[in-house]
Amino acid sequence: MQITVNDEAREVTAGSTIADLLEELGLRPKFVAVERNLELIPRARHAECELAENDKLEVVTLVGGG
C-alpha cells in the first residue's frame, strides 16, 4: 500500500507499523519523532501503530539551529 513520508510517496507492506517503517528507513528511533496525519505518535506506540493506505507521515529529527 502507498503512504507518504515527508512528502515522498512510499510503498509499504500492509500491516506495517511505524516501528517497521523506521527500521526500513534505517533510522534510529530515539533520534526521531513521528507524526501520522498531523497527530504525534509517541515512541511507546510505534510498535503497535499500524499504517493505513494514504497515511501522511512526518519523520523529524534534531538539526543545528539557533
Binding site: N6, L25, G26, L27, R28, P29, K30, F31, V32, A33, E35, L38, L40, P42, R43, E58, V59, V60, T61, L62, V63, G64, G65, G66
Partner: protein
C-alpha cells in the same frame, strides 16, 4: 566574583550565554565552539529527517546529552499551529533521550522570510497554547515592550526580544526599547528573566546587552559564521561575563565635561611662557 545563577523556570544555569548549533562548517567545529563558549544550554531545530546526511550522521552523535540541556526551537514556523506541532515533536525526541530540555521550547513564530521578525499575534497564541500543555516557553519576540508584557502575562518563562533581525549582526538597535522591556517585565518581579535573542554580531554587542541589565544572551551566527569561530566563542564568553559584571558593578554617570582622575592640588608651579 560570584553571581547568582540564571533561573529559567525549573532550569538553573551558571552561564548566561546560550548558543545555537546552526551554520557550523563541521560538527567538530560546532563541538569545539560549544565547549569554549562555556554554555550549558544549546539550541537546536526540528527538521524533517532527510534520511540523514550522506554519512548517516546526526547532530545528536556530536552533542554530549549528559552535559548540555537542549533547547529545541520552532524556527521556520509561520503560524501558531505549526509552532505547536514542532514544539511537541521536539519534546518527544528529547523525552526519549532523557534530556532535561524536554520540558521547554524556544518559541519562534515568524512573520515573513525576509526579516524573520516574529509575528506577535501568532506568538502570543502559541505561547498560550503551549503553556497550557505544560511547556516552559522561552519567547522570541521583537523589542516592543507591550508585546513583551503580553507574553509574560500569557505565562512565558522568559521573554527574549531580538536586538536586531536574526543573523543580521547589527547588535542592539533600540536600547531604549530594551530598557523599557526590562522595566515592564521586572518592575514588580525583578527576577523575571529577559534574554536578548538574535542580532548580536560581536563581543561588544553581547557586553552591551548585558550592561543594559538583560539576564542573558542567545546567539548563533555571530560565532558560527565568524572567520575564527572558536576564538569568537571565547570572546563571547568573556563579553557575557564582562557585561554582566559591569552591570552589577554599577557604572558611573555620563557627564558632559571632564573630571580629573589625578589630584588637582600639589601641581608644580607652571613655567612662565
Amino acid at each position: 566574583m560570584s553571581d547568582k545563577p540564571l533561573v529559567l523556570g525549573t532550569h538553573t544555569l551558571q552561564s548566561r550565554l546560550i548558543v545555537g548549533t546552526g551554520k557550523y562548517s563541521t560538527f567538530d567545529m560546532m563541538q569545539q565552539c560549544l565547549e569554549i563558549s562555556g554554555s550549558e544550554v544549546i539550541t537546536v531545530a526540528v527538521r524533517r529527517e532527510r534520511l540523514i546526511d550522506a554519512e548517516g550522521r546526526n547532530i545528536l552523535d556530536f552533542i554530549d546529552l549528559s552535559k548540555y540541556t537542549i533547547l529545541p526551537n520552532t524556527a521556520g514556523c509561520f503560524n501558531a499551529e505549526d509552532a505547536i506541532r514542532v514544539a511537541r515533536l521536539g519534546r518527544e525526541i528529547l523525552d526519549g533521550l532523557e534530556n532535561s530540555g524536554a520540558d521547554w521550547v524556544k518559541l519562534e513564530v515568524l512573520g515573513d522570510t525576509k526579516t524573520l521578525l516574529p509575528d506577535p499575534v501568532a506568538t502570543l497564541q502559541a505561547t498560550e497554547a503551549l503553556v497550557k500543555e505544560g511547556f516552559q516557553v522561552l519567547c522570541y519576540t521583537t523589542d516592543d515592550p507591550i508585546t513583551a508584557k503580553r507574553l509574560k502575562d500569557a505565562g512565558a518563562t522568559s521573554v527574549m526580544p531580538a536586538g536586531s533581525p536574526i543573523g543580521s549582526g547589527q547588535g542592539v538597535l533600540n536600547p531604549n526599547n530594551i530598557r523599557i522591556c526590562l522595566e515592564y517585565l521586572k518592575g514588580d518581579d525583578p527576577d523575571y528573566p529577559m534574554i536578548i535573542d538574535a542580532g548580536v554580531g560581536s563581543a561588544s554587542d553581547v557586553a552591551f546587552a548585558m550592561e543594559l541589565g538583560c539576564d542573558g544572551v542567545l546567539l548563533n551566527t555571530a560565532i558560527a559564521s565568524a572567520t575564527e569561530p572558536a576564538m569568537m566563542a571565547e570572546a563571547m564568553k568573556h563579553a557575557c561575563l564582562a557585561g554582566r559584571q559591569s552591570y552589577r558593578a554599577g557604572r558611573i554617570a555620563k557627564k558632559l565635561y571632564a573630571t580629573a582622575s589625578s589630584p588637582e592640588t600639589g601641581v608644580i608651579r607652571p613655567s612662565l611662557r
